[in-house]
């Protein structure tokens, strides 16, 4: 029997990304639909099922051309039980049996996981992770997400909170408030939001910086602005990048000491800084990690961009 295609779904706060993917991980067709939370999980599931049928029809593909569905969502998810325990960003779902609902609506077997975990799995399978059996993935975006591959498998954890790498405490006393209700999480310092906030804090403290003029003109500052200002020699921006890479280097080295990875994949908006991020990060990481642990590690920038989630979801569907 021929090895069948699969369907990868990545449910996000703004859009649901979908893709038809070959058994070998090539995207045949991808598209997205808006995330509409008002109809609850049932409404969203119906939107997804209808959209899949429409796209299959357009492409002259039948139900039987696909083996099953993998789906990711932002929240605490149990693969084993097929339940989304909690997903704040898509309408505050609680204990939603997503595998069952989506299975009934589409007629496919459905496997679900946390979106950041699936992005890690995607990078492992077809991206910069290059099938490294032991791999850490960080997504530095609005927040900080993570995924861990160890012994060649995505880790799933006991109750849907595995690889919540953005919530490692990096500032034990004080530190900024985090959406999780605590303080000092990695996410509050090393996310795009955290980096921008560090710039605003500096401006508020009256630091002399090229970022002030920009802020006065446009009313906003992005992480990208901070990296650009640092490249132009701005002292405050350079200090912020030094701080961010120091905190991130410490957090990643502490994780590397546990997992002993051969690849560390950095993705998300902040990773667009490329070597301007990776070079200082590598040097801070080496300072904090065991020499032998460090010698096994290669840092790489994620290569799949926004497709990582649907490709990881497809890999999950394949299993």
């Amino acid at each position: 029997m021929e090895q069948q295609n699969v369907i990868g779904i990545d449910i996000g706060g703004t859009t649901v990304k979908l893709a038809f993917v070959t058994y070998d991980g090539e995207i045949i067709h991808k598209w997205e639909i808006p995330t509409v939370v008002e109809g609850g999980p049932e409404g969203m599931v119906e939107d997804i099922a209808t959209s899949i049928r429409n796209e299959q029809r357009k492409l002259d593909l039948s139900h039987e051309d696909f083996k099953g569905i993998g789906a990711g969502a932002p929240g605490y998810i149990s693969l084993e039980e097929g339940i989304v325990y909690e997903a704040v960003n898509i309408g505050g779902w609680k204990d939603v049996p997503l595998s069952k609902l989506l299975g009934e609506a589409t007629g496919y077997n459905v496997r679900i996981e946390n979106d950041a975990n699936l992005a890690a799995l995607g990078e492992y399978w077809k991206g910069a992770g290059d099938k490294a059996e032991d791999l850490l993935a960080y997504t530095l975006g609005t927040g900080v997400g993570g995924g861990i591959i160890a012994n060649g498998e995505l880790l799933h954890g006991a109750n849907g909170t595995v690889a919540e790498l953005g919530h490692m405490t990096v500032i034990a006393n004080g530190g900024r408030h985090c959406n999780c209700g605590r303080t000092g999480c990695l996410e509050t310092e090393a996310s795009a939001t955290g980096i921008a906030r560090s710039a605003l804090d500096g401006i508020e403290q009256g630091r002399s910086t090229s970022l002030k003029e920009q802020y006065d003109q446009s009313g906003e500052i992005s992480a990208r602005d901070v990296f650009e200002a640092a490249a132009d020699g701005d002292e405050l921006a350079k200090e912020i990048i030094d701080h961010v890479t120091n905190v991130l280097g410490l957090a990643i080295s502490n994780m590397a000491i546990a997992i002993n990875p051969s690849k560390i994949v950095i993705g998300g908006g902040v990773s667009k800084a490329g070597d301007q991020l990776l070079e200082p990060l590598r040097s801070k990481f080496d300072r904090f990690t065991l020499q032998r642990t460090g010698s096994a590690v290669e840092f790489v920038i994620a290569s799949l961009g926004n497709d990582a989630g649907v490709i990881g979801a497809a890999y999950l569907a394949r299993q």
Copy 2:
């Protein structure tokens, strides 16, 4: 065919522990021999092989009564390659093909792993870990060792440094020197040695403490002394335990956020303090971890004592 017995070996700096273990993990017979490093790996392997044959003869067991050998040693080890990359405490071995040497000397298939990893595997299989599919194990002894079970499997890592949990950096700036060459490792604060040193530091700083009298009389202070003094209300001892559980709570919570375990097993000499350790540790842990992550976790004291290593080794041999 009947499921065969296996042989578990735990090579330590002072003694080599050996056990004949049933397929189900019951110890039939256990014994130990001194660790003699002078003859190099070949000498030690010969000692072990001879001792196994002698004990088999004594017990009227034959070579064929056993399926194979699992062995642990303190160092950086590759299970896959069967090589001890580096083992400082047993004569400074470097790149020793232990599986091959021990296999040739005994006629059995041999699988090797780091000793702390095997202790974790032992506790998982037959001890306090109770087959929790996601589990962290810490051994708080002279140093701090660790092992991680995730997705129901012992993690092996990329180059033999997996779960070196004692070398998580817990004091980013300053901190005590560690044997690994860096500073601020968990081991420098939360090992038995670290706890005793904190007491000595307090005495040197002229703190008023019942530990001083004891030190003046006996010339030494142990971690156990510190726990006993704290139970009697000694302020310095109470502060040390507060500090140790704080540092340990932070380190373990940062690891729990990655692994999302349902069990955290604490072993080694320091764990003999029991609830006097676990109660403050739990409260510090909860402060630093995600609420949902914390809700999945049970802290338990290791139950196999010095047998954990040979039982974990037996489990490895069985696979």
